[in-house]
Symmetry: C2
Subunit: 269 residues, 2 copies
């Protein structure tokens, strides 16, 4: 069995991930036979782009595909998966969610796995899949290899990851992306309260991001907490007195920066 | 009086900021006459690059410059400034520190101000001054204009900012850069604990940074806290049980993301 067995695909879902992923696979020698979505308009639109069939009914899902890729919201999985897997007991079934364990397929599909593209997808922007990391899991070595080969058609960065690891990928992404973005939001808030333009901060933010391409974040750390500059930290906490939630965040993160700096010092005396 | 009055400069300090800034000004039709530094090696090296004189003695500082730019660590200012300003009562004196108020010059120099280039400087990397924001303050309109014209030789982004505003620029930069970088450090820590490569996170971090070039950080916010996905947030807090400081940071930032989302909803009903 080789990669050509994954030639015929059906997509379950027509949202952001399904749209970007199905189009990319279609451009890389995969035949998308059908798109399923509960929303007829979405199903028709995506199927049109892919020159594929579409359906809104679970009992009309194509029974002849080799691989079924499920990209629907987590809360719909329980309803869709049993009906889907009944359609083709021999096929390979995968979902694309960071936070959903592979075990969701247990008892439903003999061959199953996960293809998790770790990127933030939005309708307005094209996705550069060549640099998007894909995390692969399957319940057999053979299907793991098949899915890795499939992902490698799109991306240079394909990794194997267990469900447990994927959970940690997800929480790590919350810190590095969602929480980092909130630091920008706090910055935006403080600047606009004092008549200062947020765009003035962009060069510094860009340089901060560039640095971690050649230093670890611990090595790249600068600022009053890293230097243990207590005078400036006290001034800053004083400035945040009217916003106790921000003062609390300032205190907690500064304390944690100190703890990381001490840890690094100990391991590199 | 016009910009040519700032042709002759003396630099006080030979650290990262002084090195990058003096070289850039020297390339933009300024004559750096002299470099002062307590460390003879630093003074000689920078002066050599600038084809300038150098001294390590306060009483040998050039008395004929039009502008003196002070880039030394905050703790050395009290000692250096009185001796410096005595050398040339008619000149313009500025410092380059984000956190030091302009009032530090009061009683010392008739004409004074601040040129604050807001960027992270490191010896290993060249600085792109054309996109670096400069924040200018002076104690007269005339000198404000002079300093703005000088900064505009280097940068497209020159702003006026009071000492009070500069304090808020600095604390904002702590959030957007130092604290955002710590979110990367936490991410790095969680990933390496589970055998996952940090480099896999870089495309997502880059996209997070790119997004705030065309959306406000509040508009760009995604993730479980923004969606108020309580199940995932509870799972995550459970995963962080063995690291209570991280759980605390997770809780505080998530709560603050919710608060910002509610605020945005109220102002755009």
């Amino acid at each position: 069995m080789d990669e050509t067995h994954l030639y015929n695909l059906t997509f379950i879902g027509a949202g952001n991930v399904a749209t970007h992923l199905s189009q990319a696979l279609s451009q890389h020698h995969c035949c998308i036979r059908q798109v399923f979505s509960r929303t007829e308009e979405s199903a028709r639109e995506l199927a049109g782009r892919l020159h594929a069939a579409f359906t809104t009914r679970l009992d009309e899902i194509d029974a002849g595909s080799d691989l079924y890729i499920v990209s629907i919201k987590d809360s719909a999985l329980n309803e869709v998966l049993p009906a889907l897997t009944r359609r083709n007991p021999d096929a390979l079934f995968v979902h694309t969610a960071g936070s959903v364990p592979m075990s969701i397929w247990n008892g439903l599909a003999r061959r199953h796995g996960v293809i998790y593209p770790m990127q933030t997808f939005s309708k307005q922007r094209d996705v550069d899949f060549t640099t998007t990391p894909f995390f692969i899991e399957a319940n057999s070595e053979e299907d793991t290899r098949l899915l890795m080969q499939l992902a490698q058609r799109l991306s240079e960065k394909v990794y194997e990851a267990s469900s447990e690891q994927r959970k940690y990928l997800h929480i790590s992404a919350v810190f590095a992306c969602n929480f980092a973005n909130h630091m920008y939001a706090v910055c935006h808030h403080l600047l606009s309260e004092h008549g200062l333009p947020f765009e003035s901060m962009l060069p510094l933010i860009e340089e901060t991001t560039r640095k971690i391409h050649y230093l670890t974040p611990e090595e790249a750390q600068t600022g009053p907490a890293r230097r243990n500059d207590c005078n400036i930290m006290e001034d800053h906490l004083h400035m945040l007195e009217s916003e106790p939630e921000l003062a609390e965040i300032y205190r907690n993160i500064s304390r944690n920066i100190r703890a990381y700096a001490e840890k690094t010092k100990k391991s590199n005396p």
